[in-house]
Amino acid sequence: MSTRGQRILLWTTPAAGALFAVACLLFPVFSPPLSPAMPPEEVAAFFRTNVTGILGVVILCNLIAGSLVPLFAVAAVQISRTATSSSVFTYAYIMCVGVSITAFILADYCWGVAAFRPERDPQLISLLNDMAWFFFIAPVGSIAVQNLCLALSIYLDARPDPIFPRWVAHFNIAIAALLIPGAFSILYKSGPLAWDGAVSFTLRLLVFATYIVVMFLVLLRIVNRQGSEREVLA
């Protein structure tokens, strides 16, 4: 079985990553990130003055929302190839990817709906904005579990010549640990843990970007090494 399909899908990742980076840099809500302490009237005013920028990025993100899925799908295939006794982590990984992507899409929608009619009651605009930030920053539970599934599969790989290098497991656990504080962003309105803070926002996005780049390179090497070996399908 050839790995051509995996390689083709894997190579969509750089394009997806570039589009996400552009979206992130262009998004008015992120430069600088809106403070959670902002009163509803100011949030509404912000949306009124930035309709074009917000809607543009929202539509772009709506289109590219799932474009990192191929990377995760290739990761899932490689997880299923590790010699563990079952596919349990592959299944958990796939479900987590579905949940994470949906949370991102919901965040996108909430920002979009807020910008669609910015003259709406400021309370509602603020509510939509809060909800969008919640969905964007907080649901790290699924990403963390995703990484842990990958890491455990690597640790437990019984092959004499393991699929993944062992450091990838450590790396995934480190990434999970760095992402986890994001869950507590809903408890704070200021400081590093608030959704515009150094830990929940800046660190989180940088960590995630690093993760995508590293995983892309790792998977590229693994898929190239896989050669004609049969894929173990879940």
Partner: protein, 268 residues
């Protein structure tokens, strides 16, 4: 888990620590996460936030505001946000056993999709409705009341994704010829489907036995669901324990290692 202790006494093969050589370790890790996850859930839902048993849909506005803006609710939501990723592991345990059955892969793919959508609409979304209400003081009471309704309706009234999941799971058990899980568990799973049907009226009734905190929709469903959840895990425990080593997906590597192939089955 006594197998693991004994295996640990074996001389390690290669450079890996010996605990990693236990052939079913991945399944056992996933399995033991489950009770932990449900215990955490129980603590967060009941004594921490009093989200469960459900508040009455007929609560007065001050009651709703008081509940929605309690700090404990916010902490509960943060904990759930952190741990809801364990739900897919829970479901992966079912899916793995379905994979071992003699049935078509459509069953496990159906369960995967049902579980994914279920985690989103049945957990992520209601959690954020409650979290949002608690996050910002100063929302208008009608907005809080809407989030309250949305949260409970999405949590208790999410039907279709679980229907399809229980249907696929129950049918897979009934059609299976490998006897991975007992047949009567398949029939019990049919009642899970029944409880989802019973929960449909929560979208209509605002009080009485069919409201989301009602006897018919909530308490009877709980009386069926809680034992089911426990029984299903006992059955999955047995299924993992009884799985012969040569059927494991890593069998070719495990048999070659220091562990004798017959050893774990001797405990089964």
């Amino acid at each position: 888990m006594n197998e693991r202790v004994e295996v640990a006494d074996n001389p390690a093969a290669g450079t890996s620590p010996s605990w990693r050589r236990h052939p079913k370790l991945d399944q056992w890790i996933a399995f033991w996460i489950v009770p932990g996850f449900f215990t955490l859930f129980g603590i967060v839902f009941v004594p921490l936030s009093f989200m469960m048993p459900p508040r009455s849909p007929g609560s007065s506005t001050p009651e709703i505001v008081g509940f929605m803006q309690s700090h404990n609710l916010l902490i509960a939501c943060a904990i759930l946000t952190l741990s809801f990723g364990l739900a897919p592991i829970t479901n992966a345990c079912y899916v793995m056993q379905v994979k071992r059955m003699s049935v078509s892969p459509v069953f496990r793919y159906t369960i995967i999709v049902g579980a994914t959508t279920g985690a989103i609409v049945g957990m992520l979304f209601p959690m954020f409705c409650f979290g949002l209400g608690a996050f910002r003081t100063g929302y208008d009471p009608p907005i809080l009341a809407m989030l309250f309704d949305f949260g409970y309706l999405a949590y208790i009234g999410s039907l279709g994704c679980f229907c399809i999941m229980w249907m696929a799971f129950g049918l897979a058990i009934l059609l299976d010829r490998n006897n991975i899980l007992p047949k009567w568990l398949g029939y019990y799973t049919v009642w899970q489907y029944l409880t989802e049907l019973m929960a449909a009226p929560v979208w209509i009734a605002t009080s009485g036995p069919f409201a989301w905190d009602g006897l018919m929709t909530f308490w009877f469903a709980m009386a069926l669901y809680v034992p089911w959840q426990i029984i299903v895990y006992l059955c999955i425990y047995r299924a993992i324990k009884n799985q012969p080593v040569h059927e494991l997906e890593n069998a070719q590597f495990v048999v070659a290692s220091s562990l004798p192939a017959t050893r774990p089955t001797a405990h089964a």
